[in-house]
Subunit: 81 residues, 2 copies
C-alpha cells in the first residue's frame, strides 16, 4: 500500500518559505497569487497502514506546529511521468 | 482557485531525507516501510491557472532534479482541520 503524507504549517504559524515565494512571484511577472504555504510531502510504501498516524506524530511531522494529512493511494500506483 | 503543487526528487536522484526517515523508522518500532521519498508541497490561491506550470519551472521546483505535479483543488476548499 502506498501512502502520501502532506505536512503543512498550522494555521496561524508563520511560514517564512511561503512568504518568500509569495514575494518572489510578482518580481518574476506572476500576479494574482496569494496564500502561499510551503509544506512537505512524504511518500512511502507500507505493509500495514495501522501505524501511519503514529509515524506522523513521532517522526514525520512536528504536531506542535504542523498539521498532517494521510492519503492512501492505490496499492499498485505507477506514477509514469 | 486553489492549487497544490507536489514536488519530489526525480527517479534515480538521491533522496537523503527519505533515506534518513527510512532508517529511523525501524529504530522507532515501525517495520515494513520502504521506498520513502521526501518532497515538498506548495499550496496557493490563483486568480488564473495559466501560469502555474511556468511558476513551477521557474521558482517552485528545480526541474533538473525534481518532478512536479499540479493539482487544482476546489475553488472554495475549506480545510477545516
Amino acid at each position: 500500500m502506498k501512502a502520501r503524507v502532506l505536512i503543512r504549517p498550522k494555521e496561524g504559524i508563520l511560514d517564512p518559505q511561503g512568504q518568500v515565494v509569495e514575494r518572489a512571484l510578482p518580481a518574476l511577472g506572476f500576479e494574482g497569487v496569494s496564500n502561499v504555504r510551503v509544506g512537505r510531502m512524504v511518500e512511502l510504501e507500507l505493509e500495514d497502514t495501522a501505524g501511519i498516524e503514529e509515524m506522523c506524530e513521532r517522526l514525520l511531522a512536528n504536531p506542535l506546529i504542523e498539521d498532517y494529512e494521510v492519503l492512501l493511494l492505490e496499492p499498485a500506483a505507477d506514477p509514469a511521468s
